[in-house]
């Protein structure tokens, strides 16, 4: 099975808009939403059957038991994340390292420390079925630090259901940090959605650099290319210099917003210029990935 991830570095360039259209066009595939921080693919594919839904325990957190605690302050002194203040644990800052538990000097008669790590839900994972196809996704609990681990879990969940699909499409998250690294690991192909702006170019270069640490082949799609022709030219020049193919240029189209707001992939209205170009991009991708679909 070939694996394709959609990334962009900068947020809001159109990752999900492109991803849901590719998902609609591709046959015999599975798909996942790895933007666990702000998952939106589900908004387009609402009519699913939920196969599994469960809490995900990614990181443990410190919990304090006042009946055992002697207020010695050791945990507070050693915690590097300022997660314990005046003897109270702030679970939002706890990274679950376990230093507090390890160095807590007191325990009860069963050997349990006054402060100890316990399972804490980092979010919810879901495996769904849409027209017989597997769709894996998750929600990260607000403010949680386990996004990279959760991304890995979402991908694992998808592969657990693999039968004879020849493609997996993964919608990624913005940035270049842990969730992005977790979604690039072991992936053969990546489409970078770039936006013709000073920020879009800056961020595209950073995500291209990040992808170099992996054996991932990248392609570029320029979205809303006609908003700034000079910057579009710049992207094409950079792509050429870095040896990355520009698969297509999607024009700005007011109707895209309206179609998406109705909860539909752009390619559901194939007469729009944006949809035509996405279909064109998909045909090129099929060829580059060497898949019959």
């Amino acid at each position: 099975m070939k694996q394709l991830v959609i990334l962009s570095g900068k947020g809001g360039t159109g990752k999900t808009t492109l991803a849901v259209s590719l998902i609609k066009l591709a046959k015999n595939k599975m798909f996942a939403d790895c933007d666990v921080d702000a998952p939106n693919v589900k908004l387009i594919f609402e009519d699913t059957e939920i196969l599994e839904e469960k809490p995900y325990f990614g990181l443990k957190k410190a919990f304090k038991y006042e009946d055992i605690c002697i207020d010695c302050g050791k945990c507070e002194e050693l915690c590097r994340f300022n997660a314990i203040k005046d003897g109270v644990v702030n679970i939002n800052y706890c990274e679950g390292c376990g230093v507090c538990e390890r160095f807590c000097p007191v325990s009860d008669d069963q050997g349990r420390k006054a402060i100890r790590l316990e399972d804490d839900s980092s979010g919810t994972t879901r495996i769904e079925k849409l027209n017989n196809e597997i769709f894996s996704n998750a929600n990260l609990k607000i403010g949680n630090g386990a996004s990279g681990k959760l991304v890995t879990e979402v991908r694992k969940n998808m592969y657990r259901y693999k039968t004879d699909e020849n493609l997996a499409i993964i919608d990624g998250s913005p940035g270049i940090g842990c969730p992005v690294i977790a979604s690039l690991t072991g992936i053969e192909y990546c489409v970078l959605v770039a936006e013709p702006s000073i920020s879009g170019i800056h961020d595209m270069i950073r995500i291209l650099e990040t992808s170099k640490n992996f054996s991932t082949k990248c392609f570029i799609v320029i979205n809303k290319y006609d908003n700034n022709f000079e910057k579009t030219n710049d992207i094409e020049d950079i792509a050429k210099e870095k040896g990355v193919e520009v698969l297509g240029k999607i024009p700005f189209d007011e109707r895209v917003v309206r179609i998406t707001n109705k909860g539909k992939p752009v390619v559901d209205n194939p007469d729009t210029e944006a949809a035509k170009e996405i279909i064109n991009i998909w045909n090129k991708l099929k060829n580059r990935l060497n898949i019959v679909n």
């Binding site: 921080d37 990279g148 913005p174």
Partner: protein, 278 residues
Amino acid sequence: MKISVLSGKGGTGKTFLSVNLSQVASDSVYIDCDVEEPNGNLYFKAKDSKIKNVDVPVPVVDQDKCTGCKKCVEFCQFNALAYVGGKLKIFNELCHSCGGCSLLCPENALKEINRTIGKVEFGFSDGIQIKTGELNIGEATGVPIIEKLLEDMDYSKNNIIDCPPGSSCQVMESIKGSDFSLLVIEPTKFGVHNINLVYELVKIFDIPYGAVINKDMGDSKIAEEFCEKNNIKILGKIPYDEEMGKLNSDGYIVAKENKKFEKIFKEILDKIEKEVRL
């Protein structure tokens, strides 16, 4: 005053708002906490900035002292240590710098050294103080850089915090202690869904908030209804405007280029200041 600008979804206009609000505010400090993809200084182009590396402590092992007891390996919650081929190996990228391993090593074989994960740059542009941070490529978390950017904040100035997208630990770190959070909403199904996440976050942190609708194309009902339902005050609407979009995409600060645009941001800033004083 500390105003944090956030949105959940990427690309809704956080940097656009933050940069232009910093431009129209007096005595302002622009702080770019989106250290994975920092874009604010592409607009300000601050000169003669002071650059400082941001380091985090990571363990190094003295192989002569290590007896292979593996206590550190068993302790590390992040799998940053492994004992392979009769030697202790350390995976720096996985280390959270908790310091536990070097504290507990019975042989004192582990000590901590500093490892650079990124940098901060402090400079000035047109009288505006600019603080930006940048995470090195391949690093997992920018939280220590955000901490560096926000330390020693002068609350007598107008500090405007450009937050990262999402609602994870980095956003939390950025908004801590804010006097006000400005929620930038894109009037789309995605935009409204994602603003809900950061709206929950500012409520948890008990920060006063208000919203700006960006890229308003005359039909922002989807965002207005969300705000009304949740009792979020709309402090302004920024129309979708080709000229403004083009200027911004070319790296210009629109409030500096055109009085008409300047007025939009001044009005939003006035409203924020009123909200904070309440």
